[in-house]
Amino acid sequence: MVSQKVKGKPVALDGDRAVAEAIRQMNPDVVAAYPITPQTEIVMRFSEFVANGEVVTEFIPVESEHAAMSACIGASAAGGRAQTATAGAGLAFMWEVLWVASGTRLPIVMHVVNRSLSAPLNIHCDHSDSMGARDAGWIQLYDETVQEAYDNAIQALRIAEHPDIMLPTLHALDGFILGHGVERLELLPDDAVRSFIGIYEPQHPLLDVDHPVTYGPMVLTDYFFEYKRQQAAAMERALEIIPQIGEEYGTFTGRYYGLMEGYRLEDAEFATIALGSTAGTIKTVVDELRDQGVKAGLLKLRCFRPFPATILAEALGDKKAIAVLDRSLSFGAQGGPLFLEVITALFTHGLSPKVLNYAYGLGGRDIVPARIHQVYKDLIEIDREGLTESSIRYLGLRE
């Protein structure tokens, strides 16, 4: 554990390269990835580190994302640290084996660059891919900036490997916006990262031939349910542990992480909730509105799985009106995935403020500050006049 504050090195990198640097510093035993579209530069850059001998990692360029996750599962069961990166359709193709990874309780780390799911064919940012995997038993973190993509990549490993969690963990960065966006960030020294992640001591590695172990047996009606309950419990424990790890990360980086971040939220009357890079755009709008005397605030959710319902409800309980921004649709549902979670959290905590849901940014549709201003305008209006239209809205859509 690092307790002294270390000096980071300011660099200009896009999100893909920043994540590749984080993987280099973590130096996993195995990285298995499908090397072409929808893959991003993360894997291209990391394979250069492998070729240059800068890491000890066994890099396996597999024939599909399904195989990439399967190889990670094998490597992780063997007792190694395994990571992969993917995006969009690649994550969708992993879907079946995502459940094997979580059900087997393997602490695999995955870097997801959010892209839309076809059809029509689209490679730009939205959250359809990671939201599609939201019930697969993986911890999900979302990054606002390139710095957070780097920081969350490193913390994901500690979260996944925590003995009271042991769940695969992914962090998601918005495709193109962060993936291809060059920003200023601080890279930690290699030894600080290595000291933070420590040495992984797997409890039941397959390669320990003196202690033979069976992975992946068939479990029928008599025990399957019990294993699923264990996974649910691990998610509950993660709610306690993720902020502890974020706190520890802060002690030596100066960048502290919790389950969520409130931005001018405490005394806000009107709040929005968002994931990912859009939170930054909202912050600038909140500042502008505050200058105009509007008590606007933002709840940026860092951790979507497990969903921090209690702290979210506590932070939102006194708001006059709330807008939930979803960068994906759940067709036929009563709103987007984030909206449904927020509504449930409020209801189960005995709260019933006015809440609007906005689908936005699908297929990379740009979300400009004027749109966010519109959201707050709507909130002020429904507070004054009550809800006259549908609470489910589409932001930035031509109508």
Binding site: V213, Y215, Y223, E226, Y227
Partner: protein, 99 residues
Amino acid sequence: MTLKTWTEILAGGLITDAGNSEEYETGSWRSHRPIIDMDRCTHCMICWIYCPDGSILVSDAKVTGIDLTHCKGCGICAHECPRKAISMVEEAVAKEGAQ
């Protein structure tokens, strides 16, 4: 058998007891029982090789009988025996004969 609760079992469905399949008594699946005619048996060990459940009992390089706790009655031993020394007998009949 008392089933364990979700807090009592090892996470991820892992099994750390090597060879604990022995605890599963597959003998109850059997409808036909292999009976060895010891006069014909040459102890060639073909049945021992083929048995999918390791249920051919062997001692001092001699076949001594069948492990009926685990033999599922699949009949592979009888099919493979080059001397036709093993016959599959209906379980009810075999039980009667044994008594």
